[in-house]
Amino acid sequence: MIPSTRAALRSLRAGERARRRVSVFGALGLAVMSWPAVAQWQGLPTPGLPRKADGTFDASAAAPRAADGKPDLSGIWMAPRIRVDLAQGLKKGETVPFTPEGKQIFDERRATNSKDDPGARCLPTGIPVRATLQTPFKILQTPGVTAILYESRTQFRQILTDGRSLPKEVDWPAWQGFSVGRWDGDTFVVETAGFNGKVWLDQVGTPASDAFRLTERFHRRDFGHMDVEMIIDDRKMYTRPWSTFAELLFQPDTELLEYICEENERDSARMVGK
């Protein structure tokens, strides 16, 4: 497609109107004919990435900076391995500090192998587990707002960085809550509140109530690696705030794909539990 398009552009510069039309239509025709060959959505080199001499992505290059001098977190990220249990991201020796109510809910969910997980019905997954499900997501960092596009279930979040604070009272409890972001040195700190108490934080059933507040701390170590600390604060489910950690790897030469979960969801009716 590219050579024929270039040819068309050259002919445009050349002048003659009739010849121009022929060339443009020719280029368009070639473009359409060659579409299947260029429709491969994976493996195309992502422009602007640091590369080694052999052309492979240099993950250890310095993290890029945005125009304001802060690290630019933009790009596609994914966990190196799947984790469906936030407890797998605890520091060594730590345990999840359940309240009796939180422990009861968690134990009930484990006893039935998470058959009632809303995520299995294509409802939103918990924000913390999205970082560890080994499904890609794209961060788009712009002045005033940072968006996260999650491929799985085609979910998105907006993290407002226009200086506003979280509301003192939330008048619309939501699955994903409401998020604001700020910089703490080179760490992007996202605070989220206003959850509806329906979401499961992970697939094993770690609970969250309407008192849940989440703080995420993103630190891009270098071009290819990012660390995330997720601080879970929910006085109904946990006796104190606790942290789970995840590593994210930059995903070069790929793009997000469509994921319409509702298309053919048939598992939930067959989930018998034990």
Partner: protein, 142 residues
């Protein structure tokens, strides 16, 4: 002749029974990793859909009786990134599938691997407790 094997194999691999490689749902709520099935048959229908792909296979047992099985694979995204195309497995293809049978006892399984007659072993992109696709392909063709 197509064979139909259902082997109740106790597997020592139990890392976390609810792990699903693409994590749409808890594996253990629906499938039993102790009931390993090997399905050898002909593909009758393919659904390249989210949240899971489905491959329907006619399997003939030793008495000549044909049963149609539904086999759940990973999400199209996972398969596509692993090199699959929507046409990688088509109606009429002969296939050997190793997977875990549904707990409800229906003719439904969650695939671990797909082996094609030409020797290709396709990643199933789904539930992991019974080992990786390469290993299960090798076991299936032994």
């Amino acid at each position: 002749m197509y064979r139909f094997l259902v082997s109740a194999t106790v597997c020592g691999v139990f890392a976390l029974s609810s792990v699903d490689l693409r994590a749409h749902h808890s594996f253990a709520a629906e499938f039993d990793s102790n009931k390993v099935v090997t399905l050898i048959g002909v593909v009758t229908k393919v659904e390249w859909t989210n949240p899971h792909t489905y491959f329907y296979v006619d399997v003939t047992d030793d008495q000549g009786k044909v049963a149609n099985w539904a086999v759940e694979g990973g999400a199209p995204n996972a398969l596509y990134r692993a090199g699959w195309k929507p046409t990688s497995l088509k109606t009429g293809d002969r296939v050997t599938i190793v997977g875990s049978r549904a707990k409800d006892g229906s003719n439904l399984a969650n695939a671990t691997s797909f082996s094609l007659p030409d020797g290709r072993c396709l990643f199933a992109g789904s539930s992991g407790p019974n080992g990786d696709a390469t290993t299960t392909c090798r076991q299936a063709t032994r």
